[in-house]
């Protein structure tokens, strides 16, 4: 909480303290390169925010590396006295967590594929073709992304039981895809609109079919958008708890977020192991984020700026 406040207060404070009567040239320069005092303020704000961002993660990491006997020791130690990997060993070799991770990978990857296969044609036709009721259809798609998941959970549960797909990968994949398609259509439409239509026209002149021009010319150019869409969908499935906990009760089909929560309730609060399990879950996400951060930011922004 304190970090939040300093994070926002610092820049305002330094901004107010900069002299505003300086020559026009000085002002213009400071808009590009901040003065030393302001730079210090900027760093302070960035550091405070970074602290707020990583504090819970670091505390979890620290706990996961402590032997069980010292996890509950007071006074609290941020840096463990004895480092151990015993918690990680327990999680990786003597628990359900690896199985949960595998399930999450399977369901996430298939969901990403299904979502893209369905969303790409819709987004492309929304970006390129004029047809009657297009505005209405787009609005409809946008509205359905506003249907709260929780509001349709009961009917979907009922449907899943009726159709005999309760406790399957299939039901999770269908629901996840359906909920991601509107968002992804929205994001991809922005990407397709940013690709000049002349490229396809040139392809058509050279004798390509409409589909050929799309597959060979447009799709490669839209790769950054597709990448961002894939990551957004992947992270969404990886992080979901609601669907995974409602539509699956078989322990062998549990996804990772449900597995983690079960871990908490099943073994009581064995914080050392629990934080180790959390770290194992987070690691792939953090690696993916560090690698694809710029692409992701671009994708999210494209979706939001096309109003």
């Amino acid at each position: 909480m304190a970090d939040t406040l300093t994070g926002t207060a610092t820049p305002a404070g330094t901004r107010a303290s900069t002299p505003s009567v300086g020559a026009a040239r000085g002002a213009a320069r400071s808009a590009r390169r901040p003065s030393r005092v302001r730079r210090a303020g900027i760093y302070l704000g960035l550091l405070a925010a970074s602290g707020f961002a990583v504090l819970p993660l670091l505390w979890g990491l620290s706990t996961s590396l402590k032997p069980e006997s010292t996890v509950l020791a007071t006074p609290v130690r941020w840096i463990p006295e004895h480092l151990t990997l015993e918690n990680y060993e327990a999680v990786l070799f003597h628990s359900q967590i690896p199985l949960n991770l595998l399930n999450s990978v399977i369901v996430s990857v298939v969901t990403v594929l299904v979502t893209l296969i369905i969303a790409v044609p819709a987004a492309y036709s929304a970006a390129r073709y004029r047809f009657r009721g297009k505005a209405g259809l787009l609005f409809f798609i946008l509205m359905t992304s506003m249907v709260p998941g929780i509001a349709v959970l009961v009917p979907l549960y009922y449907l899943a039981v009726k159709l005999g797909v309760y406790d399957t990968y299939l039901v999770m994949i269908v629901i996840y895809s359906a909920w991601q398609v509107p968002t992804i259509v929205w994001i991809l439409r922005g990407f397709f609109e940013s690709i000049p239509v002349e490229i396809e026209e040139a392809g058509r002149v050279d004798g390509m079919s409409a589909a050929g021009a799309f597959l060979r010319l447009v799709l490669p150019l839209a790769k950054p958008g597709l990448g961002a869409a894939a990551i957004i969908t992947f992270v969404y499935v990886w992080n979901d708890y609601l669907i995974a906990s409602t539509f699956v009760s078989d322990p062998d089909l549990r996804l990772i977020s449900v597995g983690l929560y079960t871990y908490l309730t099943q073994y009581g609060t064995v914080w050392g192991q629990l934080t180790a399990a959390v770290m194992v879950t987070l690691l792939p996400m953090i690696i993916a984020f560090v690698l694809f951060e710029r692409r992701l930011v671009a994708g999210l922004s494209a979706g939001a700026s096309k109003g």
Partner: protein, 273 residues
């Protein structure tokens, strides 16, 4: 048009049909998954009764407080990350990191961080820790929610800030604006539509948030963090009062529509003007 069809069918099957079904369930008395008899508004009377209004009030506290913290924080961090200083890329990765953390994981990590007995911050709060009192747990819930969602705000604001032409800012400074004035009078109006979209996205996200509340506080202590979305979930899947749960869902859905439409109108109005 044909290219649109698969998307439409899937969306209709998984979103539209179930909403219609939820509407039907909400006016029936239910036993397990069967509708027993038509009871009209009775389920809604439960939802909009005294206990229900307390839920609604808590929902608004949660949503509004989270918005008031997350949006300015996200914007401020976007401004900082838009400066040309060293290590800014590193800072950006670190500051945006909570974006990939799931609600379940965030709840577990913060629960452990805020632990009254063994957590590193227990000196700050004294006693049992913030999660043991009604106000403390609502405050914690809001802080964790802000922690989870400010990265999205920062990402969108950052992208919008980069579209503001530098000449425009410089021109306002030449005209004698202080940095603060040029921020509020030049930059903020330029990125207004992004800010509005952000507010819509976050409002809907907060209104419908179940997982974080369920895994962090479970609605307690003493219903101190019982919000509408959580109650829709608990009534349906823990108490198996599907009809009442559906009524909660419908109220939630109506709130979503009201806010969604209101925001869209504001957005359209501003764009035309």
């Amino acid at each position: 048009m044909a290219l649109y069809l698969p998307a439409l069918v899937l969306v209709a099957l998984v979103s539209v049909f179930p909403i219609a079904y939820a509407l039907r369930l909400s006016v029936y008395r239910t036993r397990a998954l069967r509708t027993v008899e038509f009871i009209g508004w009775d389920n809604f009377a439960t939802v909009l009764g005294p206990a229900g209004w307390a839920d609604i009030a808590r929902t608004f506290v949660y949503v509004v407080a989270s918005l008031l913290l997350a949006v300015p924080l996200g914007l401020a961090l976007a401004v900082l990350l838009n400066k040309q200083v060293r290590f800014v890329r590193l800072f950006r990765v670190v500051i945006l990191l909570p974006w990939v953390v799931s609600q379940t994981v965030a709840a577990l990590l913060w629960k452990w961080l805020l632990n009254g007995q063994y957590g590193p911050l227990h000196g700050l709060f004294g006693g049992e820790g913030p999660l043991s009192s009604t106000w403390g747990s609502m405050a914690s819930l809001i802080v964790v929610n802000v922690w989870l969602s400010y990265p999205l705000a920062t990402i969108l604001c950052l992208a919008a800030l980069q579209t503001v032409p530098a000449e425009q800012i410089e021109a306002s400074r030449v005209d004698g604006c202080t940095p603060r004035q040029s921020f509020f009078q030049v930059i903020v109006p330029t990125i207004r539509s992004t800010l509005l979209i952000l507010v819509i996205m976050l409002t809907l996200l907060y209104f419908n948030m179940v997982t974080l509340v369920y895994t962090l506080t479970g609605g307690g202590p003493f219903s101190g963090t019982q919000v509408l979305s959580l109650n829709a979930f608990l009534q349906s899947f823990q108490f198996f009062k599907i009809g009442v749960g559906a009524a909660y869902s419908v109220v939630l859905f109506v709130l979503n529509i009201v806010f969604g439409v209101a925001y869209i109108r504001v957005l359209k109005g501003k764009n035309d003007g």
